[in-house]
């Protein structure tokens, strides 16, 4: 009899994109979020961390247009009636995700309006290893 053996879950590791001068634009964006948005994002990342396939992540969509070439996706969540978007890419290693830029979205318009271009520019820097990763740890005790 053949029995199926489940491999143990390997949780995802998250990185904030950082510039070589030490600035962390994701941390800056996160600081400006409302309590509702911060709490929701924390729980969203916590659940996704334990979800093996990114296609099952809540609520991930790959971008179209120019960004598609760079395999950039956005995590979508809504808090206080505001649609938030966190752009990212997978990597640099297996089971890792790197966050590139955060913004809001209303009636097909992003704010800041150049966030897709920023995401593309930062993904290029990641590919060229001209960036600094700040690990975004997800607390399990809160």
């Amino acid at each position: 009899m053949i029995s199926s053996i489940k491999s143990p879950l390997v949780p995802w590791v998250y990185w904030d994109f950082g510039y070589k001068n030490g600035t962390n634009p994701i941390a800056d964006w996160h600081t400006g979020l409302s309590d509702d948005a911060k709490n929701l994002l924390h729980d969203l990342l916590k659940t996704n961390k334990k979800t093996d396939k990114p296609t099952d992540w809540r609520d991930l969509k790959f971008l179209k247009g120019t960004a598609k070439e760079y395999k950039i996706w956005e995590l979508r969540f809504k808090a206080n009636g505001v649609q938030h978007r966190l752009f990212g890419i997978f990597g640099p290693e297996r089971k890792q995700a790197t966050f590139l830029v955060g913004c809001t979205h209303k009636q097909k318009i992003y704010n800041p309006p150049d966030c897709i271009e920023t995401a593309i520019a930062r993904s290029k820097l990641v590919n060229e290893k001209r960036w600094v990763g700040h690990e975004r740890k997800i607390r399990l005790d809160i």
């Binding site: 309590d35 709490n39 729980d43 659940t47 099952d56 809540r58 609520d59 005790d141 809160i142």
Partner: protein, 189 residues
């Protein structure tokens, strides 16, 4: 002060922050459960939309954390469509956190009513529940299928407690209790 201490301090002091904390967890965990059950039982969103009598766009919104303000009736409707139960209860923060930490979307599954043998064919476990009911001094109503072996347990409990103020009322089957309650019927799709 550490980041955790700061959060605990705010949770203790600010009602709005407690609400925000609860909202974050529930929005993610509910949308994640709906996604997992929809994939398992219905596949595409359109299939669940048809079965539940909701629009596909609404299903999509319910699977996006924070995009829907869930009300109890919506959750009841979904549970009925999935053929599963629904528990809404107030718990300590520690219990909620434990649930959150243990929840894994990939492994989340719920036995549907048709396969829920524990419900369809009650076992000894229900006797234990029954004993708890007796110990709290409640009058317990039992369907006749359960009565034969639970009566013996009832007698034991009464004997042990020397309490005759509790009783057993026998019904034809469990459905008579549901009918008596006059609940709405949900049409299976």
């Amino acid at each position: 002060m550490s980041a955790r201490s700061d959060l605990i301090f705010r949770l203790q002091k600010e009602r709005d922050f407690r609400a925000s904390y609860l909202r974050g967890k529930l929005h993610v965990l509910i949308s994640s459960q709906i996604y997992a059950l929809r994939k398992r039982f219905f596949g595409k969103q359109t299939n669940l939309a048809i079965a539940s009598g909701m629009k596909q766009s609404r299903i999509s919104a319910m699977e996006q954390p924070g995009a829907t303000q869930f009300n109890l009736e919506t959750l009841i409707r979904l549970a009925a469509t999935f053929k599963v139960g629904l528990v809404v209860k107030f718990v300590p923060f520690s219990e909620m956190l434990r649930w959150d930490n243990r929840f894994v979307q990939d492994e989340f599954e719920v036995i549907q009513l048709d396969k829920d043998l524990e419900f369809l064919t009650p076992t000894e476990d229900l006797d234990e529940d029954y004993e708890e009911g007796v110990s709290e001094g409640n009058l317990v109503f039992l369907p006749s299928r359960m009565a034969s072996h639970t009566e013996a347990a009832f007698e034991q409990v009464v004997e042990a407690k020397g309490d005759t103020s509790v009783g057993v009322a026998e019904f034809e089957d469990a459905s008579s209790l549901v009918g008596a309650a006059g609940g709405d019927h949900v049409q299976d799709q």
